[in-house]
Amino acid sequence: MPKQYGMFIDLERCIGCHTCTIACKAENGTPIGVNWHKVLTIGGAHMDTPRGTYPNLTMDWLPVPCMHCQNPPCANVCPAAAITRRADGIVLIDKEKCIGCQYCVWACPYGVPQYNAAAGTVEKCTFCAHRVDQGQQPFCVDACSWGARIFGDLNDPNSEVVNAIARKHGKAMAPEQGTRPSVFYSKLVKA
């Protein structure tokens, strides 16, 4: 069976620290203003603010990499055929082909593709394909010292990622969109 790379993000262990976001920036050299990864607060209106009335409050975080959908809406709308899904499930934007129309930005239900105004193209998380191709993990996974991220082959029933998703009842975001994301979360609550 071909590989289908995917990720499990354990919201019970996520402390909302943004180390993943900075790791992504360091690894992929994205300019100021373009972030392939972000951490949203599930709580109040601002970063790191809870929901409720003091002292009865709740707060969680939602780290958002590309979902690397098995049915990627971004690829489906791209008029330049610049977005492709590799045999291992990683969805990539070919910057050479991208015409900067930003249809994908509009189509992605997760707000993932980022327009790089300086380059005139759209960019996004690659699951660090350059590292994965060398047998390494995406850098955000490696950099999460809090054990909140697990990466691996969703088609391998013995993989750590599959086991973690089963054990922690991992759920994908917005499954009703039919996108079949490859990123699963524990404790997913509706934002």
């Binding site: 402390i15 900075i22 100021i32 109040g44 603010t49 003091y54 707060m59 850098f139 010292s145």
Partner: protein, 819 residues
């Protein structure tokens, strides 16, 4: 040199080259140094091993630095020598490359040509700078004596044992100058720890590996999810292993989001909460009788006439004046007990009661504690602390009936005038419930492990008898003396490296208006033009951790801190600064070693933690291995495993007769320097003002890093929407935060996790990042007009030289109004 707030906002808003707007920045240099605009260097990647440069959180995590063509291209976590510790690096070291290559770096030495703080500088050579410093020091020495020079060699933002040892080497040779000198902030935790346990505060914590043995972990007054992030990993592991996590804090912050129970204590009322917990535990008989009897001084009899412990010599002629007395319930008689004796065969100490022995009416110390705690029934504590009565009762019972319990304390609840009393009262709960010296138990600060004892004194103490002194007065008394020109150390000159007082040490206006004018000469060595450096006469471009060789011993690992890149610009470090000054001031003979030789001297330690390493640890071996486990046990470190306490009684000193003159023999809830309940100021300034630490900075370090500014771009005021509504303030409004000491303008951020009546501007921002003013202008004074030094410190400084009250950061009232 420093870039304006508008510039910072532009960086965060999207422009790649905003940093180039900084005046005085060579655009070509910037281009070469900015990864996004410079092509990725070609060539082989070299890996260097060192520690994170952000030491303000004291975690000293190992990092690997990727270098290509002499330029840092990435930082990632490095392993610890014990693989049971997760490798760990948070966003700060990962972003630190941008700090190293920041266009704001000081690039060459400069001398002041305008007034202090005016920002007018002239470039000079290192030789001129060092010659000037040397001649100024000599001049001041001739005029006022050696004591007039304050040598502040490093702050917590300088990692590495060598960088800390070298300024000490210099001061040992210079003369009776002040090195440590209550520049040590945050001393309230050491004060309390020293009093209760007789030991330095760093040694009381348990290994984070031991937290997995805890059934209940109480995080009290800390936010480790942001400020002790490595510890947070282990707390999550403990939770996964079945421990319940509880947070006692005023703030629903990132740590609160991860715990099972949040106990919302109002700022600075922690002692009332602790005494109420003690009340419930004692009234319900839930204390650990065996531990209290054997290992605390609570069973000892206290004379009612002078509050001192009854001694054998008080009741028996020829009795031992050192022996205490306790009451044996079997024979109904007083029995003498020596220092450090935990039990006497056949004697069962009575814990509670009043007794008459000879002419003396006595009570057990435990009886006195019971009476003190009885003044804080949960209903009364609830009104002070704003914790619900039911929660106080249920938490007290849970704490006392669960074992083991680890209590993780920190500076958060200690940074007030009553801080030492608060921390002592926290120790009481751990002691009453017998959670001391057992796996999974304990009460302590950051997670720690056995550490290697390098022979640092080979570097720091070159003379048999050091001429340096550690000043024994308290922090605020010391600076009050400087400000008023009184006291034994009439400081007239200061050399500071990596110490940004104005940015983080209490009220900034005091430094600028009261203390600095007393100093005839100030030299600052720092990688950046800090708010403190702006008031210097000479500024020197300092290096970052990555630009020098050093050695570190954090968390059971001896780690070589390799020099990863060549120093940028003309930057130098403590090695060159103190070596060159030493040569110019006549002790060049003591400054002939290279950094490698100094490190070899440190490795040549007779302490078994180092001497017992096989094969023997040499610099060569360390260069190969990068990090080595010291010769220490593999079982997790547990403080007081032997339950020996080097206190006057040899037991945990819960009743402290040394503090009778101050009415502090038992901790009590007392109002702070400024209280929203009792201060006359409260009618004008009803809000408690905090400057909380965040994950984006350690003290003022990293507040100018563009990658971090993207996420947290500017100072904001966090306020509960109810407090804002009362003042007609809307979310995002620019407000003025003010009191009699100062004011600043910032945007508001509605935050339901802020307790009503409390506001916060996160800590560490530079003055030029505020719309107007500076948050530290509002803080409680460094040199208070009234004598507010807590007298406990005078006792505690004798035990731990780091003790002595720190600044009163959180005893501060303000008002907020729409700007």
């Amino acid at each position: 040199m420093a870039i304006s707030r508008r510039d910072f906002l532009k960086i965060s808003a999207a422009t790649v080259a905003a940093a180039s707007l900084a005046p005085g920045t060579d655009a070509k240099v910037l281009q070469a140094l900015t990864p996004q605009t410079a092509p990725m260097p070609a060539g082989e990647t070299q890996i260097f091993h060192t520690v994170c440069p952000g030491a303000g959180d004291h975690q000293r995590c190992g990092v690997k630095v990727h270098v290509r063509d002499g330029r840092m291209v990435k930082v990632e976590a490095d392993d610890f020598a014990d693989p049971r510790y997760h490798k760990n690096a948070c966003l700060r070291p990962l972003a630190s490359m941008r700090w190293v290559y920041s266009p704001d770096r000081l690039k060459y030495p400069m001398k002041r040509v305008g007034n202090r703080g005016e920002g007018k500088w002239q470039r000079i050579t290192w030789d001129e700078a060092l010659d000037t410093i040397a001649s100024k020091l000599t001049e001041i020495k001739n005029k006022y004596g050696e004591k007039a020079v304050h040598i502040r060699g490093s702050s917590s933002s300088t990692n590495g044992q060598l960088m800390r040892a070298l300024p000490q080497r210099f001061s040992a040779l210079w003369g009776p100058s002040v090195t440590k000198a209550r520049g040590v902030i945050d001393a309230n935790l050491p004060v309390a720890t020293a009093l209760v346990t007789g030991t330095v505060y760093g040694s009381v914590a348990h290994s984070p590996l031991d937290w997995r043995n805890s059934k209940l972990i109480v995080i009290w007054g800390e936010n480790p999810a942001e400020t002790d992030m490595r510890d947070m990993t282990h707390l999550l592991d403990a939770r996964d292993a079945g421990a319940k996590l509880v947070l006692i804090s005023p703030f629903f912050d990132p740590t609160a989001a991860k715990v099972d129970e949040f106990i919302p204590v109002f700022p600075a009322t922690d002692a009332a909460l602790a005494l109420s917990l003690a009340n419930v535990i004692i009234e319900r008989g839930l204390y650990d009788e065996d531990f209290v009897s054997k290992f605390t001084n609570l069973p000892l009899l206290v004379r009612q006439d002078n509050k001192k412990f009854l001694r054998e010599s008080d009741v028996t002629s020829g009795g031992d004046a050192k022996k205490y007395m306790l009451w044996d319930s079997k024979t109904n008689a007083a029995v003498a007990i020596g220092v450090g004796v935990n039990e006497i065969k056949g004697v069962t100490p009575t814990l509670l009661g009043s007794f008459t022995i000879g002419n003396f009416a006595c009570k057990t110390a435990f009886q006195l504690l019971k009476e003190r705690a009885a003044q804080y029934p949960p209903e009364k504590a609830a009104t002070l602390t704003k914790v619900r009565t039911e929660q106080i009762k249920s938490f007290a019972a849970e704490y006392a009936t669960t074992k083991p319990v680890y209590t993780k304390i920190s500076h958060g609840s200690a940074r007030t005038y009553q801080g030492p009393g608060i921390v002592r009262s926290q120790f009481y709960i751990a002691a009453l419930t017998g959670n001391i010296g057992i796996p999974g138990g304990g009460i302590g600060y950051e997670g720690k492990d056995y550490e290697a004892n390098l022979n640092t004194s080979a570097v720091s103490a070159p003379l048999e008898k050091s001429r340096a002194v550690t000043y024994t007065d308290t922090y605020s008394q010391y600076w009050t003396n400087v400000a008023t020109g009184k006291g034994p150390y009439p400081i007239k000159a200061a050399i500071l490296s990596n110490a940004a007082w104005v940015n983080y040490c209490g009220n900034s206006r005091e430094w600028i208006e009261k203390i600095f004018p007393q100093l005839e000469f100030i030299a600052v060595c720092d990688p950046f033009m800090t708010a403190t450096a702006q008031y210097a006469d000479i500024v020197l471009p300092g290096q970052t951790q990555y630009e020098r060789l050093d050695i570190d011993t954090a968390l059971g690992t001896i780690r070589l801190c390799e020099k990863a890149i060549e120093p940028l610009y003309e930057s130098r470090d403590n090695y060159e600064l103190w070596t060159e000054l030493g040569k110019r001031l006549g002790f060049g003979d003591y400054f002939k070693n290279t950094p490698e030789e100094y490190i070899s001297m440190m490795l040549n330690s007779k302490d078994p933690t180092v001497a017992g390493i096989t094969p023997p640890l040499t610099l060569e071996r360390l260069k190969q291995a990068k990090y080595v486990r010291p010769n220490v046990p593999t079982t997790p470190y547990i403080a007081f495993r032997e339950r020996k306490f080097p206190t006057p009684s040899g037991r945990m000193e819960l009743y402290d007769e040394r503090l009778i003159p101050f009415g502090e023999e038992l901790p009590d809830f007392k109002e702070g320097y400024e209280s929203p309940r009792t201060s006359p100021l409260a009618s004008k300034y009803p809000l408690v003002f905090y400057t909380k630490k965040t994950r984006f900075n350690t003290q003022s370090q990293f507040r100018n890093v563009d990658w971090l500014l993207e996420i947290s771009p500017e100072p904001i005021l966090e306020i509960n929407p109810a407090d804002a509504a009362e003042r007609g303030i809307k979310d995002g409004d620019v407000v003025k935060v003010f009191n009699d000491r100062g004011s600043c303008k910032v945007k508001t951020k509605f935050h339901d996790g802020m307790p009503p009546g409390v506001v916060n501007i996160p800590h560490g921002w530079f003055p030029n990042q505020f719309i107007q003013g500076f948050a530290s202008d509002l803080c409680a004074p460094v040199t208070p007009p009234e004598k507010v030094d807590n007298p406990m410190s005078l006792v505690a400084t004798a035990i731990d030289s780091a003790a002595g009250p720190g600044e009163l950061l959180y005893d501060c009232l303000v008002e907020v109004a729409k700007a």
